[in-house]
């Protein structure tokens, strides 16, 4: 926010050297907007419809009309109160409306261009009115400059909010992916399996550790099998995290078995000199399950009836 404010000041610094003069023009702009509000609104909505219909006709026209008329009311009020966007309090309402429009569009899947067009397409109808009302070429130039500075700044703000909302969506999805990707499954009473799929980064290994430990408490598990068949690479960091997880599980009274170590990963682990200590490793999840059952004093045997038949 600070950066944006700073650059906005810098941008506005040069053209407003004549101060007074421009302010007068800007007040004229406010008057023009207030006088032709209805006409500008109609043309503006038309403009928006032409600009966006080809790309996304999803949004209802009523919705756009309502947003636009609300925006232009506030825009006109803010222009009258203070013609420069620097005044935070006067433009707060306008910004709020823009924020909600832009947020809604980000979620509906609009492109940044389409979202910014909402504000920027106001330029054409507005400039037309200004041209009609202008007393001299110089006055028109000043008025146009003042309006486009304001609208550009609002347009940038829209894009910024748009990107921010998109980022929020991405963050949420990332979190959901994280939760989904580390399931703890109960294979047998007292035996948990933790099938790991995909690259393990430090954040994921952390959630893996937490999920596993919570799972051990929840299922009162004595043995946990960590299956790394789906893990493409293991580096020292990942190995260290695995060892930490196993140590933490042991502190809670559960034993861990690692299964599904592929030949390449076995080579990497040995080459890296990672010491897996006394951690039991098994080739496949099936082997690990067999071992786990054996440790619990159980086993899998064919049913009596089927042996008799055969």
């Amino acid at each position: 926010m600070h950066g944006e404010d700073g650059s906005a000041h810098a941008r506005r610094g040069d053209p407003f050297k004549q101060g007074e003069n421009v302010n007068n023009n800007a007040t004229d702009v406010a008057a023009v907007v207030a006088r032709y509000k209805a006409d500008i609104l109609k043309e503006w909505v038309q403009q928006q419809r032409e600009g966006s219909s080809s790309l996304s006709g999803v949004r209802s026209n009523g919705d756009a009309l309502e947003q636009s008329s609300q925006f232009i009311d506030l825009f006109s009020a803010a222009l009258t109160a203070d013609p420069t966007v620097e005044n935070e309090s006067a433009w707060a309402d306008v910004r709020t409306v823009l924020e909600s429009v832009s947020r809604a569009r980000a979620i509906q899947g609009f492109s940044p261009t389409e979202t910014a067009t909402f504000v920027l397409s106001l330029k054409q109808p507005l400039f037309q009115r200004l041209r009609q009302e202008a007393k001299s070429a110089e006055a028109l130039g000043d008025a146009v400059w003042a309006v486009s500075t304001v609208l550009d700044s609002l347009g940038l703000y829209t894009t910024e909010v748009f990107l921010r909302s998109r980022e929020e969506v991405i963050m949420k999805q990332q979190q959901e992916l994280l939760d989904l990707s580390t399931p703890v499954v109960e294979l047998f009473s007292g035996v948990l399996a933790l099938p790991l799929i995909g690259t393990l980064d430090s954040e994921r290994t952390h959630s893996v550790m937490e999920n596993l430990l919570e799972g051990i408490v929840e299922h009162e598990a004595a043995i946990a099998i960590i299956d790394i068949t789906g893990v493409p690479t293991v580096d020292t960091l990942v190995a260290q995290h695995l060892i930490k997880t196993i140590a933490a599980a042991r502190l809670m009274g559960a034993e861990c078995i690692i299964s599904g170590i592929r030949p390449q990963i076995a080579q990497t682990i040995v080459h890296l000199g990672v010491d897996l200590g006394d951690v039991t490793t098994k080739a496949s999840l099936a082997d690990a399950l067999r071992l786990a059952l054996a440790k619990l004093g159980r086993g899998i045997a064919p049913l009596k009836s089927s042996t008799e038949k055969s």
Binding site: M209, E210, L213, E214, I216, V217, E220, A221, A222, K244, A247, A248, A249, R250, L251, M252, G253, A254
Partner: protein
């Protein structure tokens, strides 16, 4: 003075930590426990820390010390009911408590103790 009760249960000692373990309390527990072990000739110690939700490096180290001390005094030690958050903290602090038995709850801890002590007897008998 506040102290944590140490219960004698046949040949075992039972400690459940129900209050927040501050430094002085941990040291007192360490003293009490070692005294009790040597006085009663206990064969096993069970420490239940399921109510403990915060450990710092000092408490973690003291827990490790208590466990090792009772082992030196010829009593098997089982630490039961460690919470996930505590386990993560202990591991991050590098306190993996090698040589200390752990169990998920008191029930399993007792089973483990009985088994361990039973094994010892068998060995003695064999000799």
């Amino acid at each position: 003075m506040e102290r944590i009760p140490v219960l004698k249960l046949n040949q075992f000692l039972l400690v459940t930590i129900q209050v927040e373990l501050h430094d002085q309390l941990a040291l007192t527990l360490q003293d009490d426990l070692t005294t009790m072990v040597s006085r009663h000739g206990s064969r096993g110690v069970l420490i239940d820390i399921s109510a403990l939700d915060i450990v710092d490096s000092f408490i973690g180290r003291t827990l490790a010390h208590i466990a090792l001390l009772s082992r030196i005094l010829d009593a098997e030690t089982v630490l039961v009911g460690m919470r996930p958050a505590v386990a993560i903290t202990m591991v991050e602090l590098g306190l993996t408590l090698p040589g200390v038995r752990t169990a998920l709850n008191v029930e399993r801890g007792m089973a483990l103790l009985r088994e361990a002590v039973g094994d010892d007897r068998d060995e003695n008998d064999a000799e």
